[in-house]
């Protein structure tokens, strides 16, 4: 990236290629669109501040995902430490999730399950890779996936109808 033009091209390509991925990852972790947008923006600004020399596209993607997950973790800690922060109970599930029944069911899962489900089923990462990414051992990731599937099965096969109107 020697010229301003090169930079512009790089920025455009990296945003077009990865911004949705970063946003979805953050959304799965935080369950909040505006927060996910904030995280996405911060991740890319960090990228520009550092401009690491990536060895490959995969390296770049993994870096972005890792930074995103770390920022979400940090954000969640802040929320725990700041309980007075605005909550989202008054937003209906449809407003919150609104993408479809499976997505809605996934978003019902605890955060650690959501992230694993997203990375595995959408991003296509394997258990070994997710364990590297999240810093958990493979058994833990397997267990999280197993439980997530079990819970999804329960949620999607019944019991949610009564819940749909509840805040």
């Amino acid at each position: 990236m020697q010229t301003a033009n090169d930079v512009g091209v790089y920025i455009s390509s990296v945003v077009d290629k990865y911004s949705d991925m970063v946003y979805r990852t953050a959304y799965h972790a935080l369950c909040d669109r505006s927060c996910a947008e904030d995280i996405a923006q911060e991740v890319f600004l960090k990228l520009m501040r550092a401009l690491p020399d990536f060895e490959s596209d995969e390296h770049e993607k993994a870096w972005l995902l890792k930074v995103t997950l770390n920022m979400c973790k940090t954000y969640n800690r802040k929320v725990y430490s700041h309980p007075t922060e605005e909550l989202t109970e008054n937003i209906t599930k449809t407003e919150r999730f609104g993408q479809g029944p499976v997505m809605e069911a996934v978003m019902e899962l605890p955060e650690k399950y959501r992230t694993v489900v997203y990375l595995h089923y959408f991003e296509g990462y394997k258990i070994a890779e997710i364990s590297e990414m999240l810093g958990k051992n493979q058994n833990t990731v397997s267990s999280l996936l197993l439980r997530a599937r079990k819970q999804l099965k329960t949620i999607l096969e019944g019991g949610l109808d009564d819940e749909s109107d509840r805040v």
């Binding site: 911004s19 947008e37 890319f44 501040r49 020399d53 430490s81 499976v102 899962l109 810093g135 267990s143």
Partner: protein, 624 residues
């Protein structure tokens, strides 16, 4: 349900074009700033180094010397202080995380969600090489210690605020879970026998999603019949055996119709149990305050909803631990010393005589006999609200009749499991499950645990936490609201400024053994006499223990600041048993009201701390 469906749904989740355009613009700005900063830095450093190079080198040497001296000084400090929040911790973590080994993007799997994910294992060959060291770091975790005034006076702040500890505990949790699963257990650590509490109170403060094993329970017509047939009435609770939910032992069930006329669940109806479709009356979730102004009608069971919507509106509150002494089921049976009597719904409520032995918000031991009115009758045990028996912790307020009432969502049954006091959350509400993403920690229905207080009093609890951690969490969180504390003992309120009570005596009684040594210290002082068998048999009410180097750790509040001290991790509210273990005094016997004075070795400052017990609980820790 297919994975492709999920992918399609997730795929439709995109950032808007406007957002992306704005993002690109900001990124370009950041890049330009970065470039200009680098140029300035280069120029500045270059000219500076020419002029002041030798001075800079000298200053660097001085800084190095000062830093070395500082480190040595710190290492020489005799006493350990409370761990301060470490804002660098998250940065360190982030450094490790971001610089961890990367991974490559594999191809997307196409199988349905219901199929095994294990097939995706074994792709280690896709791992690429490591990240650069110079890559940017995520934001460090915020340390909010300075933002609110009351954190300083609470010892548990570090548990939440100290990111280092959080990270360590996270790692420990994962290790535990991982190793448990490696052992072949399908259950999470939260349901295991070895569970000893969870550090994050948000996870367990509110949680319940099941009712009882009502289908297999014996049901009596009246509370009196229940109490009469439960022998003994206030029997010690039966601890759960391992991970397997205990079943109520009596299979002879004849469930009566519920109070609202709806059919009770059929015997052993799995469907009814799983869905909890018992038609629990709405009144069970409504708690009116003394003046009727506060109604707990929240449909959401988030802890913060309860706190802000109910607790914040109550005049005076107390977080008490109490034992049920007696139960009264109707007006005829009630003989209470109040001017107006007690207003209660005899169909759904029971009046109890309780003995309060601890109030956690003020952190004081109590011995107060009070009346408590709570939902639950013999009939309502079917709906998860049996007559209370045994020991509980609850957040209570005083109603117009002078009777205590608990916040229904904050009632915990206390059981000693494997030597550890565990609080089980007993609140349940059909159709209003707590958001599992926030509270149930991913516990599956089959991982829930049943505890049977008596053979005829089945309750199913799904959440548990070590009493110590639960009460720390609640206390810390509620005290942020600066509530007016309810004086449960009925005595004159004490000065609120007295966070740590001043001891009346700090010296050991002359008649008691003046000096002895910890019984199980690794390196007992040479001057001390060996522990004899006779000494082991002695029961002490007052003991002065001189510790050898390195075995006594005081964590005392900073001078001028409020706070609670800890000695070897023991603080006010801990049990005598825990304390004597922590003080290495397990070979000695102590009375429940013992006073132990712990003396640090001279090289550690010779400080002494007096720990006073009341009814087997640490009630005071006072430093000299």
């Amino acid at each position: 349900m297919k994975a492709t469906e999920y992918k399609n749904e997730v795929g439709s989740l995109k950032l808007s074009d406007e957002f992306k355009a704005e993002l690109k613009k900001k990124m370009l700005e950041v890049y330009e700033e970065r470039s200009s900063e680098k140029k300035e830095e280069k120029i500045t450093v270059s000219s500076f180094s020419k002029k002041y190079g030798k001075y800079a080198a000298l200053a660097a040497c001085l800084v190095l010397v000062a830093a070395t001296a500082g480190v040595l000084t710190l290492r020489g400090l005799p006493m350990a202080k409370s761990a301060a929040p470490n804002p660098d911790a998250a940065m360190n973590e982030a450094t490790q995380d971001v610089t961890a080994e990367p991974y490559a993007t594999p191809e997307m799997p196409d199988g349905p969600l219901g199929e095994g994910a294990e097939g995706a294992e074994g792709a280690d060959d896709m791992l690429a090489e490591g990240f650069d060291d110079g890559i940017p770091l995520p934001e460090p975790a915020q340390v909010e210690g300075a933002e609110d005034g009351y954190q300083d006076d609470l010892p548990e702040v570090d548990e939440v605020e100290n990111v280092d500890e959080d990270i360590a505990e996270d790692a420990a949790d994962e290790e535990t879970e991982g190793s448990a699963l490696q052992d072949g257990s399908p259950y999470s650590r939260y349901a295991s026998e070895g569970y000893d509490g969870d550090y994050n109170g948000d996870d367990y403060v509110l949680s319940q999603r099941s009712v009882t094993n009502a289908g297999s329970a014996t049901v009596y017509d009246t509370s009196a019949a229940l109490l009469a047939n439960s022998s003994p009435v206030f029997v010690a609770p039966v601890a759960p055996a391992g991970d397997v939910p205990a079943e109520a032992p009596n299979d002879n069930v004849e469930a009566p119709a519920s109070a609202d006329g709806s059919d009770a669940p059929s015997e052993g109806s799995e469907e009814a149990e799983e869905e909890g479709d018992y038609g629990e009356p709405e009144t069970l979730m409504i708690a009116e305050s003394a003046d009727g102004a506060v109604e707990n009608t929240l449909a959401s069971f988030e802890y913060y909803d309860i706190r802000d919507g109910v607790i914040a509106k109550l005049d005076k509150i107390a977080l008490v631990r109490f034992t049920i002494e007696d139960a009264y089921t109707g007006y005829a049976e009630v003989s209470v010393n109040t001017t107006s009597g007690v207003t209660m719904d005899v169909a759904t409520q029971t009046l109890y005589s309780i003995n309060i032995n601890r109030e956690y918000l003020s952190n004081e031991s109590e011995d107060a006999d009070r009346l408590l009115l709570n939902y639950g009758t013999a009939d309502y045990q079917l709906y998860g609200r049996p007559v209370m028996q045994g020991e509980y912790i609850a957040l209570v307020y005083e109603n117009a009749d002078g009777v205590l009432e608990p916040i229904p969502q904050l009632v915990y049954s206390v059981h000693n499991v494997n030597g550890l006091d565990i609080a089980y959350h007993v609140y349940c509400e059909d159709g209003y499950e707590v958001d599992p993403g926030n509270t149930n920690m991913g516990i599956l229905p089959e991982e829930t645990e049943a505890i049977t207080n008596t053979a005829n009093n089945p309750e199913r609890y799904t959440q548990k936490a070590a009493v110590r951690e639960l009460t720390y969490y609640l206390r810390r969180n509620i005290m942020r609201m600066e509530p007016t504390l309810l004086n449960v003992s009925g005595e004159e309120p004490e000065d609120e400024s007295e966070e740590v009570p001043v001891p009346t005596e700090t010296e050991p009684e002359p008649s008691q053994p003046a000096e002895t040594q910890p019984a199980q210290t690794e390196a007992p002082p040479e001057t001390e006499e060996p522990v004899t068998a006779e000494a082991e048999k002695t029961v002490y009410s007052n003991l002065r223990a001189q510790f050898p180097t390195g075995l006594l750790v005081f964590e005392l509040p900073e001078p001028g600041l409020d706070g609670l001290p800890k000695v070897n991790g023991i603080s006010i509210g801990d049990s005598l048993e825990d304390a004597i273990k922590a003080f290495y005094l397990t070979k000695y016997g102590f009375t429940p009201d013992a006073v132990i004075t712990l003396v640090a070795p001279e090289e550690e400052g010779g400080r002494s701390v007096t720990v006073r017990f009341t009814d087997g609980i640490v009630s005071e820790i006072v430093s000299d």
